[in-house]
Symmetry: C2
Subunit: 512 residues, 2 copies
Amino acid sequence: MMIQRTGGGRAGRKFSARGGISQRPWTRLRNPYSPIEVLSAEEVERIHRASVEILEDIGIAFLLPEALDILRRAGADVDAGSQMVRFDRALVEESVSRAPSQYTLHTRNPEHDLTFGGNHINFATVASAPNVSDLERGRRPGNFADYLNLVKLAQCLNVVHFCGGYPVEPVDLPPETRHLDALHAFATLTDKAFHAYSLGRTRILDGIEMARIARGISEQQLLKQPSLFTIVNSSSPLRIDGPMLEGVIEMARHNQIVVITPFTLAGAMAPATIAGALALQNAEALAGIVFAQIVSPGAPCMYGGFTSNVDMKTGAPAFGTPEYTQAALASGQLARRYGLPYRSSNANAANVVDAQAAYESEMSLWGAVMGHANMVMHGAGWMEGGLCASFEKMVLDAELLQMMAEVLKRIDVNDETLGLDAIREVGPGGHFFGAQHTLARYETVFYPPLVSDWSNFENWQQSGARTATERAHTLYKAILADYEEPVLDPARREELDAFVSRRKAEGGAIET
Amino acid sequence: MMIQRTGGGRAGRKFSARGGISQRPWTRLRNPYSPIEVLSAEEVERIHRASVEILEDIGIAFLLPEALDILRRAGADVDAGSQMVRFDRALVEESVSRAPSQYTLHTRNPEHDLTFGGNHINFATVASAPNVSDLERGRRPGNFADYLNLVKLAQCLNVVHFCGGYPVEPVDLPPETRHLDALHAFATLTDKAFHAYSLGRTRILDGIEMARIARGISEQQLLKQPSLFTIVNSSSPLRIDGPMLEGVIEMARHNQIVVITPFTLAGAMAPATIAGALALQNAEALAGIVFAQIVSPGAPCMYGGFTSNVDMKTGAPAFGTPEYTQAALASGQLARRYGLPYRSSNANAANVVDAQAAYESEMSLWGAVMGHANMVMHGAGWMEGGLCASFEKMVLDAELLQMMAEVLKRIDVNDETLGLDAIREVGPGGHFFGAQHTLARYETVFYPPLVSDWSNFENWQQSGARTATERAHTLYKAILADYEEPVLDPARREELDAFVSRRKAEGGAIET
């Protein structure tokens, strides 16, 4: 066996060489195993009932007069002064039942279309980090040059299914037109699905239009085919902001995907218990989804779970904690209770890409994957509880995600794989390296790592004694060096360019 | 909230302060969730049938004439020349059915007695590493001074339930008497359960006697109360060595716990498929357990799963791979098929305590925990595929194990924890830091980490920008500085000392 390592990849294996590294090919993933259920059926109902009580008795503040009008007309109990909206349970149940349990997010490359719902699972990049870092240049404020490189990495890494949002906030671009440049990069540098922020009506309408242009479809077709998604964070506790609600309204009217994710940090914006934080999360998520369904019955919505806890000594948010894992698993049960697709995250609170970053990410990922999340936000690159995007972490996470994807492939059990003939042939004390059974499959049978180094200590030391993070650094540069822009129809490209120019000339999102 | 950090611990929380750090108290763990099943019931049967075919048609080499005699008398088909033993399925099924599905491992502190079987889960230290390392002194060959410190750490870390074997091989002690010094350290420096190696009859009998003396019980009582365990690795493929078989014979005759763990590395000592490696693992594990049950019907046995894969390019063993995780989950299904307690491991192949060490360990641990392993060997401290024990990794793993233990505590869902009154009190946009609901529980409600640093980047940088591994280094030293030897009845201590002196004077394990 002892095959020579080659410099440029693992010859003979079934890899995509895209991105200059050997990696698993693009695959649509499904989780064939039963989810881990941390709540009993009765406990799920108890949390449901608590959240219905919140919606009926306490209410949720909708910080947009237009939204209050819509809700009043639909029969909700609206207090115009406090902006509090109370929903009776019939309205909640009827509205939520209209939300589809599964749908497709289309993109300009149909190979990269994604299904949300059932046991489908899709991994996103890090999103919305204000800072960015790599080993060479350290930590720095978000900027457009790093933004572009992170988007290129997302395009190259096959296990990353879509762009979860701006991987880093390009704060060197003017706020009014930033979304135009950022979305233009999504639409041109990748052919994977992407996200637009619900920061007011103008920006989200620009996002919808750019997604349409990139796909080269009509407005009619866009209404039938979700081609953009937005994450709407409620401003916990018990509040949804105006710009977010404008996003919900326009996205729902255009039949685009709205993910409602309450930001319920137990001990800060939510009760200091996982049960209480889940009850609040559930109430806020349902409120957002009910609103979207009232705006546009049948619009694609998703149940977002982001419950974690704070460090009760310092108030610092923590992620990938045991409570986080439990909440991720429980949130999946709640989402399934309503037949809604479910969004979770790959989160951690580490300040450096070290063992903590890895174990907290693993705790998050196992919660997401075995909670049957359909959308795993921040799948690759997230650090510091979301305050930094890391180039090395993005590659390291690609390894974590690829490993998860392999675990989700069922073990192949048949006469061939059981290999009794090989066992007979090799006999007691023998070795399988040279067996025909081995030779027939050695090139593709086991998962080949991106980052992991399995050489022995002496060889590892001789080749530079590099940590996984140092190896990820080398890999991300190799990937970027090989980046190729995906082909985009020149007419669409021109239309996108013209749209951005026109909207910039108009001042961009001048409403803000 | 914003409570000041104190230097010496987290005042007011319910921790054990043992070992100079704030950690979770000693707890007997159970996994209340359903195991993850990666095999269908039919696939489990198919692997079972394949392994029965191996046992019936190919056979297993038992490299000890005494064992061949025992097996021949029990009706197995023994070929004295090749030492191959074939078992018909009736003998296999009848023998395995005699093995108990649950039992207790007693130790000299009844608080530390352990249950194996059902949904009980117990974490062990690293075992059998030839090298040892820490950040200060680097990697060095195993030695008795480091051995003692690792055993002391095992005693101090509450989440470590028992000593899985020599945490590092004390190669500076003479081989004939090494086991006497090593077992004496187990019996005196800890009051947790420990392991003796099946390296021939003399050593295992010494181990059984020392476990008896440490507990201060009669030989009769020892026969009723398992007080020692041994791991027997088959010499895969298809072979069990003589010294190991002597260990099985004596341990089973004394009603002590025998864990049969085939070393089935797919692609090397087992077929290059997970299904084939599992079939071979199952055949070898059953062969060892059948043998133990023939020696002593009803003796406590355990099904060990250690299937992983090698890097097919280099032949290097890999651990914590996706295949490893799948095999750990599948092995639990096989063990449950026979009603046998199940042993798995926390394994990784990293050469340094970095992100790889953490993510491979997490992949192993999730396989073990959700495979319903009852014994997790190498739970704390294992590196380099078993070639090195790391002081920092032991503390880092204690964090991983504590986090797992927290995930296994069910979410408390009741009116109090749902906290509707607090949600009402805080209202939209408010903060739960000051709520009565929070103040009543903030000290104990969330998991407090050992190693994780949740401070923000600026604070983390100002306090030295230390990685998790560097923090684990400081912690292990603090723990050792506070180590206190557990009280041992002076008469037992004297008897242990006298036993070791006498056996050393006799030359120790002179048979080897």
